[in-house]
Subunit: 346 residues, 2 copies
DNA sequence: TCTTGTTTTGCATAGCTATGCAATCTGCAT
DNA sequence: ATGCAGATTGCATAGCTATGCAAAACAAGA
């Protein structure tokens, strides 16, 4: 980085003392003028605000952080924004945090290595808590997060540890529902398209699905499971692969919508097949693209707003229980949104 | 918000003095042990690091902010993350900033009102600069940003003002290229699908396009311009609208890819038309969906990595010129990515 | 006017680290 | 042993605001 360190040369920022001098009051008065419930007369407050406005003074929260030990900043650790689901989740989360008077210190993370150094940096800014939507759920990540000794709230993660709370969508239950839907549609050769192995939410969806298949008396063989990596391309390739291996499913449950879109495109462009006529497709996340006419994809909506609200509750609770490790879990039901990809074809 | 203010009850965080006591050295020594180029013997450093590790000490940057007046935090103001283009731009920006040793203080903004209060909050955290990808370009926003008296770097915005620098893609030039491409494909009834009126980047694309059409001797009438709002739905509706009004374009240049996808879907599903056979379509942004088989959309790639690099350059420069307002502009050429939607149909 | 109770104001300080400066130490040459 | 340069260390302080406490101002009733 090419940033100089000669802070000295900087024009000193306007301070509360400057304002005080101009308004003819004490520095405390200025501070109180900007504190909502402080004891100050209307006249003084007005004088102060006038002086502040003319000098362009803005209250400085940095010293307050030192005094209170609370920064009102929350570290938000994300990844995979190319998936619209995570992008809008982040958007909603940012709004909710700001409405709670908390600032978002954002970190994008590729791998566990980045995570460690990122957490170090965040901590040196004395963040109050961490919120993350990272789907990876390794033990080492859990350990790293627990060691921070500040509240951590995870989305769709199976991380467990002393300071870690979680908001999950009902992945297993959704898998069940998907299986039952396929049974109703007369599917005889179902396939499960899994996300990355370390994505525990994806795994839960798959387990629920298999569970539901067995319940309905449908075959659950090795070839029922297909490995993807949550991208459109992996969904596309998965279909080509199936056909190469002479497997012809008539129902595919995909761990996320991006892969499902890839599946639909591969079926249509490469195999000349249409859903739901030739195969029934179900996705997960209900991203905007699922509703696009080209896909018209049945999917599970995770109710991000609700999950974010729950996350904020957990966060408030954990922040309230100062320095006491808390581990709560909330489960939000995912809602099946039926579209053309599972319509009755008769 | 339901956060308590009794910071007093908190367990005091581990401080450099604690570490110093344990290591049997002065507090200064601890500080130096964590400063890369400080004068400290290897032995002392090791003692300090050992003590720090055993106590779980993390250097605290907050006091340093007070001393140096620099927080090494940059306010990132965003909106419209449902567009994958902005989502990945944010991702890349976050990575680049962190690599420069800067933290990202994220704010999501819906309207100008939110912006004002958001900027106030950011400033109270003493951010060093602002980076924004907001497409809106009103005078009042420019004024608000200029008043911060800290460097501002904008993406694809036409904001001008004392502290404001900009990185733009060559919107006008891309419009020209799109027009010429259509001319080569024998388009006779071109249409321009515009983004929100206040989006100046979109306007520039449209102007370039019209310019190019005239240059090629193609008709530029009122009905050449169609109003959208950058969403898939608005693209979809635009086509239906055209057909209702009995306008039958054979070439559509869309201000962004999301709308273009809507256009393609509407043509296919509602009109039974295919591109490029019945109409040539060109989008902008080159979002991942443009490459999806259902769309196979010709588009302009904005080279986000390059734009982000340029933005970082401008930022470094502006931060280097401490307290001196700077206004630079960089233009990065958008690259035409030709796909099926403009393939030669003969 | 005096008392009493309430509101408002100012003083003084805590909070933690980085850094200039002076003091001390180390190693080496004389 | 002495002197000296360079390396290392510690001392003391700045940076800005919020807040407890005491002082002051004010209001109102007697």
């Amino acid at each position: 980085m090419s940033l100089d360190k000669h802070g000295k040369a900087a024009i000193r920022a306007v301070t509360s003392t400057d304002v005080a001098r101009m308004a003819g009051v004490s520095q405390s008065a200025v501070s109180r003028a900007f504190s909502p419930d402080a004891s100050i007369s209307a006249r003084t407050k007005q004088k102060v605000l006038a002086a502040a406005a003319s000098l362009g003074y803005r209250p400085n929260r940095i010293p307050a952080i030192m005094l209170s030990g609370r920064s009102y900043m929350v570290g938000v650790v994300i990844g995979g924004l190319e998936n619209p689901f995570y992008a809008t989740a982040l958007e909603r989360l940012a709004v909710a945090l700001r409405e709670s008077g908390l600032q978002v210190l954002l970190v994008h993370v590729d791998d566990a290595l980045t995570l460690d150094s990122a957490l170090d940096q965040l901590l040196s800014y004395r963040i109050d808590a961490v919120v993350t939507s990272l789907a990876i759920g390794s033990k080492s990540v859990a350990r790293a997060l627990s060691q921070l000794r500040i509240p951590v709230v995870c989305f769709n993660s199976s991380l467990v540890g002393p300071w870690i709370s979680t908001v999950n969508s009902n992945n297993h239950g959704a898998g069940l529902v998907a299986a039952r839907l396929m049974a109703r549609r007369g599917v005889t050769h179902p396939v499960w398209l899994a996300g990355p192995v370390r994505n525990t939410a994806s795994r839960a969806r798959g387990e629920g699905f298999c569970h539901g298949l067995r319940e309905a008396g449908m075959p659950v063989a090795d070839l029922t499971r297909l490995q993807g990596d949550d991208t459109y391309d992996s969904g596309y390739k998965a279909v080509i692969d199936l056909w190469k291996r002479n497997i012809r499913p008539d129902g595919i449950f995909s761990s996320n919508d991006m892969m499902a879109c890839g599946v639909i495109d591969a079926l249509r462009e490469r195999m000349g097949l249409l859903c739901p006529r030739d195969a029934v497709i179900v996705g997960y996340d209900n991203i905007p693209q699922a509703a696009w006419r080209s896909f018209d994809l049945t999917s599970f909506d995770q109710h991000t707003e609700q999950m974010v609200t729950r996350a904020m509750d957990l966060l408030d609770e954990a922040l309230g229980a100062k320095d006491t490790p808390l581990s709560r879990t909330h489960v939000v039901d995912a809602q099946l949104i039926e579209r053309g990809s599972t319509a009755c074809s008769e």
